[in-house]
């Protein structure tokens, strides 16, 4: 199995080397990925809830007789 690699740039020499990730780095990468996925799911849920609330509010305003332009101007 090919191990993922990283580019390491030594700023004191300007030399770049490609090295395989350590087991610890791979474990950290997997933990970070899980945390990112959890964060993304929360963001998506928040965005969906916000969009639904906005649509509901606009529907109620339209039912009161406001035009689309009037609603957009609010």
């Amino acid at each position: 199995m090919t191990m993922p690699t990283k580019l390491v740039v030594d700023c004191s020499t300007g030399v770049t080397t490609e090295v395989e990730l350590t087991a610890e780095e791979i474990a950290q990468r997997e933990a970070d990925a899980a945390a990112y996925a959890e964060q993304k799911a929360a963001e998506d849920a928040a965005a969906a809830a916000k969009a639904e609330a906005k649509a509901n509010a606009e529907a109620k305003l339209a039912a009161l007789g406001l035009t689309a332009d009037e609603i957009a101007a609010l």
């Binding site: 690699t5 990283k6 740039v9 990468r29 970070d32 964060q39 963001e43 928040a46």
Partner: protein
Amino acid sequence: MALTYVAIATTTVGSGGSANIEFTSIPQTYTDLLLVSSLRGSQNGATLAGLALNGSTASFTGRYIYGDGQSTVSGSDGGNVVNYATGISVTANAFTNAYSYIPNYTSSNYKSISSDVVLEQNQSTNAMFLSATLWSNTAAITSLSLNVSAGTFAQYSTATLYGIKATV
């Protein structure tokens, strides 16, 4: 760039891709650091890129706003996400371009990182991401790494680390 900007080091990802781009032995002779990157990933969709400072991904907190022309999301998080990599499902050769600025990186105070990211996709839903991040650690920054959350950074992705001097 003004004369106060000095390119400390730059690198370009090769044909095999790379999971991380790491700058080590960062000189302690500048006032601030600026990381400029152009990143494309190996996954279909855009992937997040996290920052590690001195090898650590812990003690990061921040606030962000993300918009793609259709919706916006903002919030706070305990993560170290400061960047993205454009996915392969969008136009070939499109990269996410970003700046991350780190003032006073040698101080013994906590370090702030402000990032300005555009996920160029050559589509109507190009996205922007702005973040303000705090690394609650008092150590001077001697190494810095961008870590993609899945897959690898694709070939021709680049990163350049600049040192900023207060005066020429």
